[in-house]
């Protein structure tokens, strides 16, 4: 097998199979910056996946799928906001409940449809074409990197654009500054006239909507074949960890996604790499897959240790009021 082709495929896989993580991470950062800890990423991505997929297929439009995925995620976010912001429920428990809820919804809708007629992705030309790789002119002609990094489906580019756009929004706009104030000290934000609840509602829904798109993307990656395991397959939980890895910085989340993606893909492509480079990478074949599976979590632990050792004040992106409900009249 052509060595260059193996490496190119490896790079390509890192990007294409892990960008859903970026959606989950950027969405969760958006939510957490408003001071809400939402542990329901897994469930919200699942809900976005199933509704995005079904509506996308019925409309035979990728755009409708993306919008439906976003809407399903945002509705889950609305539920989360209603429970935690208005009704002051515990955020951890609400988030965990949302995971169960989203996964339940996924299987409920999926299984009922499977009985009556599951839409097969390949039957819908617009979706298939819409999801096809788009090559960026010039850049995609670079050997190795070109095909690996600059020839992808539209959702990859959208994910990167959202991540960078969110970074700009959070750090370079007055609205982002206000949002961060809400997450750091809602009482301070409230006292200067910022509508804390509105800000929380908006950003929880926005963030959850982004997660929903990531879920839809996950489903498309799986070719839309519905079986006993959920499309999301734990990626929502990795996204929660990636938030910490990225230090609540959506631009760093891109790096984090690729670092995790690298090890994730090594698990899948390890044997083909070993076969293509028996001298240099032959040892990859002898590593048990369990180690690869554990790697993302081991890296998170290492990153947490490193960041807490060199944690200077003000350098952490952790919102100070994360996980705490705000009630104006509370003393």
């Amino acid at each position: 097998m052509d060595k260059l082709a193996v490496l190119t495929a490896f790079l390509h896989s890192i990007v294409v199979y892990n960008i859903p993580l970026l959606y989950g991470t950027v969405g969760e950062i958006t939510v957490e910056k408003s001071g809400s800890l939402n542990l329901g990423v897994e469930g919200i991505m699942a809900a976005g996946a199933i509704f995005g997929y079904i509506f996308g297929c019925y409309a035979n439009s990728l755009l409708v799928g993306i919008l439906a995925g976003f809407a399903a995620g945002a509705l889950c976010g609305l539920l989360f906001a209603l429970l935690t912001v208005t009704l002051q429920a515990n955020q951890n428990i609400t988030g965990l409940t949302l995971t169960t809820f989203g996964l339940g919804l996924y299987f409920f809708v999926g299984n009922s449809l499977k009985a009556s007629g599951w839409p097969v992705m390949n039957d819908f030309a617009n979706i298939k074409e819409g999801f096809a790789d788009l090559s960026i002119p010039l850049l995609s002609d670079i050997p190795l990197l070109g095909k690996g990094l600059f020839s992808h489906n539209i959702l990859v580019y959208l994910g990167i654009v959202i991540a960078i756009g969110m970074w700009w929004y959070l750090n370079k706009t007055s609205l982002g500054l206000r949002l961060r104030a809400v997450g750091e000290n809602p009482a301070a934000a409230d006292s200067v006239g910022i509508n804390v609840n509105r800000s929380k509602y908006l950003h929880i829904c926005l963030g959850c909507g982004i997660m929903g798109i990531g879920g839809y993307y996950m489903g498309l990656n799986m070719g839309g074949s519905f079986n006993s395991s959920c499309w999301i397959n734990g990626y929502g939980w990795i996204a929660v960890a990636l938030v910490i890895f990225a230090n609540w910085n959506t631009a760093l989340a891109i790096v984090g996604t690729f670092v995790f993606g690298f090890f994730n893909t090594l698990r899948v492509s390890g044997s083909s790499l070993a076969a293509a480079f028996p001298g240099a990478l032959g040892w990859l074949a002898s590593i048990p897959t369990q180690l690869y599976q554990a790697l993302p979590f081991i890296i998170t632990a290492i990153v947490l240790i490193i960041t807490s050792i060199r944690n200077k004040r003000g350098s952490s992106g952790l919102p100070a009021a994360l996980g705490l409900n705000y009630y104006r009249e509370d003393r």
């Binding site: 750090n171 706009t173 007055s174 982002g176 500054l177 006292s191 200067v192 006239g193 910022i194």
Partner: protein, 528 residues
């Protein structure tokens, strides 16, 4: 009537559940005056002002701003009406710069966050006549800088009426002077100011009129010129109060706790206490005076074993206690109670009940795996009864109590263990007259029982009345130990700023070293 009142409240009532915090209160603030709002802890001052700042909504009653009836439903409404409040617990985002803290509330900030906001804020700071670096992060600021930022913040939003909730509680004497200068200037510029306080001398110093609340009810408003501290106290407390602090004279024992050449570092690794000597005898109160941050906190922590002593010795009844763990020091009868600036941070767990907080100190005394809640509850009841703690029950979380009661619980728990040395820092911080005097009495009773007390305080008048001797620190160095009844405020002030050094006043007796020291009793002759 030529000019409408800046603010007028009519028949304001606010209840929290069954507790009525404000009962039918009517008062007014004239334009361009400083109104002092006086009342004990829990008399409803802050609640009333929070209805002006939009935190609470009144159950009934009317608010008029410049003669027009208004309804204030949120801080946003309050801001729009030109009312700005500097809360007692500052409402600032710690990780933001000064400029960004102002910027988040700016009406027309634009979408993009531009670099020139720092220059704009700088210009604003100078226009208001302050001195503050707009790029400085709040977590790097001193308390006084944070307060300055809060004032600039409300001014920048165009506040006409400014409410300050106990602004002086955490400031040093010099900082208070500076603040009052600022307030007088703002008044001259036409601002109306409401200042919540319970320090009578400040009321007399700064205000034009005084409004008094007692237990949620409005008592009266008087011209400051036509009243005096005694009269104000009686209105505030509702009965005659003796404003003298007792200083019982006791037979002094030999030194209980002696520190010799002690050096301690602070969290940043700089010298906090630098070669300090002092001793405490049984039956005396030794005051510690000094400008904020001159090592008082580190000294208290080191005595309690919470902070390592780098150099020097600490002798308790002849035993060296340097390096002992906090628990062993506590068992020797040395108790420490420190009231930090936020008043809830140290010593008590705010969400736990009084009983649980009692148990925190002696849970290890019970045998077996279970805590003895019965004992804890009995202790809690004891403290509540002996120190007049106002609380619904022993199971009420400490953070729900008012400041004075929290401090009584803390002190009560320390005293309950029967210590022979009490180290207490700022025990009356933020307390009203009644509660303060209750605390002084508690300390005096301990002194009469033969306990040695180290009292770290802020108010020089109080220290001169309560303490037997006062040691003065300046930048971690001992400036001398003086007799409280012989010294003057001026002398103490000079020592606190380092202008006067009395450590060598007596040639035969260096300051802070007892003639009848117990040094060397057990460990052989080390020093003369």
């Amino acid at each position: 009537m030529s000019q409408p009142y800046a603010i007028e409240l009519k028949g304001i009532t606010k209840a929290f559940g069954s507790v009525v915090a404000n009962k039918n209160i009517s008062l007014n603030v004239k334009q361009g005056e400083i109104l002092a709002l006086l009342g004990e802890n829990g008399s409803g001052k802050t609640t009333l002002m929070n209805m002006l700042s939009g935190i609470y909504k009144p159950d009934s009653g009317e608010i008029f701003v410049e003669g027009k009836p208004v309804s204030i439903n949120s801080p946003e409404d309050s801001k729009r009406l030109g009312i700005g409040m500097v809360h007692q617990h500052f409402k600032l985002v710690d990780v933001f710069s000064a400029a960004d803290n102002i910027w988040i509330g700016r009406e027309k900030a634009g979408l993009r966050l531009k670099k020139n906001r720092f220059a704009l804020v700088e210009e604003m700071i100078q226009r208001f006549g302050f001195d503050l670096d707009p790029a400085k992060k709040v977590y790097n600021m001193s308390v006084s800088e944070k307060q300055t930022l809060e004032i600039i913040k409300v001014l920048s939003y165009g506040a006409k009426t400014i409410i300050l909730d106990e602004p002086t509680a955490v400031l040093t004497v010099q900082e208070i002077d500076k603040l009052f200068g600022v307030l007088r200037r703002m008044k001259a510029e036409g601002h109306s100011i409401i200042i919540i306080t319970h320090k009578l001398n400040e009321v007399m110093d700064i205000s034009d009129r005084v409004a008094i609340l007692r237990k949620g009810e409005y008592i009266t408003t008087v011209d400051t010129r036509e009243t005096n501290e005694q009269e104000l106290t009686e209105w505030m407390v509702g009965r005659k109060v003796d404003l003298n602090i007792d200083r019982p004279v006791m037979e002094k024992t030999r030194p209980l706790l002696e520190l010799r050449d002690v050096t301690i570092r602070n969290d940043e690794g700089a010298l906090a206490i630098d070669g300090v000597n002092f001793y405490i005898r049984g039956g005396e109160i030794l005051g510690v005076a000094g400008i904020a941050g001159c090592g008082q906190k580190e000294l208290c922590e080191a005595i309690a074993g919470l902070r390592p002593i780098e150099k020097g010795q600490m002798i308790h009844k002849g035993d060296n206690i340097v390096g002992l763990p906090p628990k062993a020091i506590h068992e020797k009868g040395i108790s420490m109670s420190f009231i930090p600036e936020d008043r809830l941070g140290m010593g008590l767990a705010p969400s736990l009940s009084i009983t649980d907080n009692m148990l925190l100190k002696n849970y290890a005394d019970t045998k077996g795996p279970f805590v003895n809640r019965k004992q804890g509850r009995a202790d809690a009841e004891n403290v509540i009864q002996e120190l007049d703690v106002v609380t619904p029950s022993t199971e009420t979380p400490v953070r729900r109590l008012s400041g004075g009661n929290v401090q009584k619980v803390l002190l009560g728990r320390e005293i309950k263990a029967g210590p022979n040395v009490i180290v207490t820092a700022y025990p009356v911080r933020g307390l009203d007259i009644n509660s303060s005097y209750a605390i002084y009495n508690i300390l005096n009773r301990q002194k009469q029982a033969g306990v040695g007390i180290l009292f770290v305080g802020e108010d020089l008048d109080v220290m001169m009345a309560l303490c037997d001797k006062i040691m003065v620190l300046c930048h971690g160095r001992l400036m001398g130990v003086v007799h409280a009844h012989k010294t003057t405020k001026e002398e103490l002030g000079l020592m606190m700023t380092g202008a006067l050094d009395l450590t060598d006043k007596y040639e035969d007796k260096p300051a802070g070293i007892a003639k009848d020291t117990r040094f060397g009793e057990k460990e052989g002759e080390e020093e003369a």
